[in-house]
Symmetry: C2
Subunit: 331 residues, 2 copies
């Protein structure tokens, strides 16, 4: 059986929160008939019977037998469980992060997972209901991350929470965002002379900032899912994304340049806006991959580096690039 995961995670997101012990357990020497009798006699007690877990005398996990396999065997009285069990079944550890357990379940197309300690001793199982609950919880959490809301405790209470609690959950990121916004005002102020020289540049601040944020959000959403679901080669992935962003950047830059020339009749502003937008789109893609990658490398949930944090950083950088391009081209 291959080792299924690496990173040690905080206890409150570990598989051990969910694992149940009330699943059928037999020894390798148990006969199929006796295993069936166990299921019949303890049907009410077991929380899940889709698999029978097969242990050695030392209670190490040796394999599993699915209910279908258990029922279809003909020579039930003579066949031993050890001879029919599946030895290559995926498993997890008590400290495995629940999101990793979900990944393993999906990748192996199974609805139950045995949990073993570091010595291979069986300590329980994740049942289909656990897996459904975890997937549902991770789903809500991912969505809330995008809104800049990080919930470490009871996620479902948000809908019934007191107003004070909700404000405490929502305000911190908004204040961090506000501080980022204050920094942005200072950057704009640095380029006061540039703005005085060409006030039209001010009109394009929202679209410059919006486009970087939008491209960044798209890239990050796709990247975080890709990281969560499959092993990806970051360098190759980044190269591909840069290729895509160059095409996207080219299209939107041409469009905004045409618009600027048609509506504002100024070729210099058109050039500044288009060039800044092109650079910003590519930078947005690089940042949108680099930030979650950093979080992932540091052993943190990459989704934590998404949403508000990336948006603020991108807002500030895109302004800086816009004004720098303007200052360079106007003088």
């Amino acid at each position: 059986m291959p080792e299924q995961e690496k990173i040690q995670e905080p206890q409150h997101k570990a598989v051990s929160k969910h694992l149940v012990g009330a699943v059928p357990v037999v020894e390798t020497t148990t006969t199929v008939e006796d295993a069936r009798a166990l299921l019949r006699s303890k049907a009410k007690i077991f929380e899940d019977m889709s698999f029978v877990y097969v242990l050695t005398k030392e209670r190490k996990l040796a394999g599993v037998v699915s209910l279908s396999n258990l029922l279809e065997i003909h020579d039930a009285t003579t066949t031993k469980i050890g001879d029919v069990m599946n030895k290559n079944f995926p498993f997890v550890h008590p400290h495995t992060h629940q999101e990793n357990a979900i990944k393993i379940a999906i990748a192996n197309n199974v609805m139950s997972l045995p949990v073993v300690d570091k010595n291979g001793i069986f300590v329980g199982a994740l049942t289909p209901k656990d897996i459904l609950a975890i997937l549902h919880e991770e789903h809500i959490e991912d969505l809330l991350h995008f809104g800049g809301i990080h919930i470490s405790e009871s996620f479902i209470d948000i809908f019934k929470a007191k107003i004070g609690t909700l404000i405490k959950l929502r305000l911190p990121w908004l204040v961090i965002g506000l501080i980022g916004g204050m920094l942005a005002t200072s950057i704009a102020q640095l380029f006061e002379t540039t703005l005085q020289q060409e006030l039209t540049l001010a009109f394009f601040i929202p679209v410059i900032v919006y486009m970087s944020a939008a491209v960044g959000a798209q890239t990050q959403t796709i990247y975080i899912r890709a990281v969560a679901l499959e092993k990806i080669n970051t360098k190759k992935y980044l190269a591909r994304e840069i290729g895509i962003s160059m095409i996207i950047g080219f299209v939107v830059s041409i469009l905004i340049a045409l618009y600027t020339i048609l509506v504002f009749k100024t070729a210099s502003v058109a050039l500044i806006v288009a060039l800044a937008m092109f650079i910003n789109v590519i930078l947005a893609v690089v940042l949108a991959i680099f930030i979650p990658w950093l979080f992932n490398r540091a052993g943190k949930d990459p989704a934590l580096g998404s949403g508000p944090f990336a948006t603020i950083l991108q807002d500030i950088l895109s302004l800086l690039i816009y004004f720098s391009v303007a200052a360079a081209l106007l003088f």
Copy 2:
């Protein structure tokens, strides 16, 4: 058995895409012993045996028996399935949207759901694997919505898709966003005289736009989940959210006003920025609930009204309010 859902949904998201027929089916008059024999003889064929579905002679769904219940009954030869079945088991229709099926499964804490047609005739079941797959698919889709990517066909291919396909998926919302951004430049241009009179106002454009978008994104994330998971009273919910937004708006407005006075030494700009931010935060909350509510009422997925569309609308409105407040207070 209560009717479980109302809205007819497009075929490609309907339960019928997933339903399997290979589940155990018996009649009310079948004995428990015969039902057990059926499981044994067809174990390999059935895709899921967590429940045995009990039908009338007309193949209408009469109830279900869980595997545990089936195994624990003692008088197996004399007991009839009809006497031990659970008659109040949730069910869905072939055209039920898969997301609604998931809601029903989670609300009832079951991992399998029978599917019946409009006459109550049993047509198949959703197995735990189907439910896991649907939940996983909806999860990815919700995340991609936030990035302005709407996928109607094969969602998983995005990671392996050709660059041309990815650009086709990503570019439309970006171009719509760009058009929104062009509209924003025209709004800013309308207030050219205001900006000329007080250039400092231009420095605050990014933070004004950012704060509305951030508050809107938070509100919408929480609201869409609330709508998806429970029946909520929209008026009451909106009132509560407005209360929260007034507190949040008050805090961020005071902070930005203090910053403006300290750094830019201008009380008039401080007043304009703070007032505009306060109005914008409340408006962002109202819009963030109103837009998904509209989509929901129109029978569309409320998540479609989130993300990029709401962001663009909020960007434009927040600019309009900012400049209007400025024009009103400066003259």
